[in-house]
């Protein structure tokens, strides 16, 4: 019984492998990109608009509101990254309805790649907002003794993001595979529905945690005395 789609190899030459993870990821990228391109071809601003445009507007405004609630003041700067993160993980999980499909996020390589993206983006936005010195100084808050702890927490947050998403997706597919050999009648369908729910929750969690990390890195520290004076 294979642990993930990494072992499902379609084509191999030397050490370059085309495995199930890569193939399903390409299929997801294709569907998301082509779908959104087709929907946003003729955007209308009147009351009469296509239902696909309505769907996209609901999704985009929902994500922007969530980003604002987390504490990032201009969601336009961050919605490109955070929205794509959410849509990719959510689409990867929702497509399990299609038979023969297995989520590429059930492989540690995909989730590690996504977590590394977050690991790179957080200092990028932090330096963009606060400058290099301001961002590096944030590692010595509240005291210089916390410097190793802050660095270790940065690394462990990334690892936790990767393993959390991998564990949730892999456990969902594995439970269904095991149940299909034990009680193949009704129970796998119930577990599939549970897998859909946890997939959506994990997509939300992944993007909200990325937003919280970015908010913590771009938090304006100099404004705190002014805010404290106001309240």
């Amino acid at each position: 019984m294979r642990l993930s789609t990494d072992q499902m190899i379609f084509w191999q030459q030397g050490f370059i492998k085309l495995n199930g993870t890569i193939a399903f990821t390409w299929a997801l990228i294709f569907v998301l990109a082509v779908g959104s391109k087709l929907i946003t071809r003729n955007l209308s601003t009147e009351l009469q608009r296509s239902r696909w445009q309505n769907l996209l507007e609901i999704i985009v405004t929902g994500i922007m509101k969530q980003i604002e609630d987390v504490g990032l003041r201009c969601p336009d700067k961050y919605i490109g990254f955070l929205g794509t993160l959410f849509l990719f993980v959510a689409a990867a999980s929702m497509c399990t309805i299609i038979p023969g499909y297995e989520p590429p996020t059930g492989s540690l390589s995909t989730t590690a790649a996504l977590a590394l993206c977050v690991f790179v983006v957080v200092p990028f936005f932090g330096i963009k907002e606060q400058g290099l010195r301001g961002y590096l100084k944030s590692y010595t808050e509240p005291t210089i003794l916390m410097l190793p702890f802050n660095i270790v927490s940065e690394l462990s947050r990334t690892l936790a993001l990767a393993v959390r998403l991998f564990g949730n997706m892999m456990s969902g597919t594995m439970i269904i595979a095991i149940l299909l050999t034990i009680t193949p009648f009704i129970f796998p369908i119930v577990m599939s529905a549970l897998g859909l729910l946890t997939g959506m929750v994990q997509a939300y969690i992944f993007s909200i945690l990325a937003a919280v990390y970015i908010a913590a890195a771009t938090r304006d520290r100099k404004a705190k005395p002014a805010q404290a004076a106001q309240t």
Binding site: R164, Q202, I205, I208
Partner: protein, 93 residues
């Protein structure tokens, strides 16, 4: 008892114990988190969206501990490097 049997016994027992003991703590923690969230929802229903979002984020963090234990257990059963090495050794002989 040869080494292959020992490896098998150790892996199976550890896999079972890992997931059994590893789900006690997160379950208790999640129960307490949801109970507190419900009582604060009853006290302040207009903050429902903030409380719900924070509850979900907190539950995901607690759940990830159980997920770590599950991943270790799965690796021990399905992708066990010691077992694979022992199998390759025995097949090579």
């Amino acid at each position: 008892m040869d080494s292959m049997t020992l490896i098998a016994i150790a892996s199976i027992v550890t896999a079972g114990l890992t997931i059994a003991l590893g789900s006690i703590g997160p379950a208790l923690g999640e129960g307490r988190a949801v109970a507190t969230a419900l009582s604060s929802l009853a006290q302040q229903p207009d903050a429902a969206s903030t409380i719900t979002r924070t509850l979900f984020v907190g539950l995901a963090m607690i759940e990830s501990i159980a997920i770590y234990c599950f991943v270790v257990s799965m690796v021990l059963i399905f992708a066990n490097p010691f077992w694979n090495y022992a199998i390759a050794h025995a097949a090579g002989k």
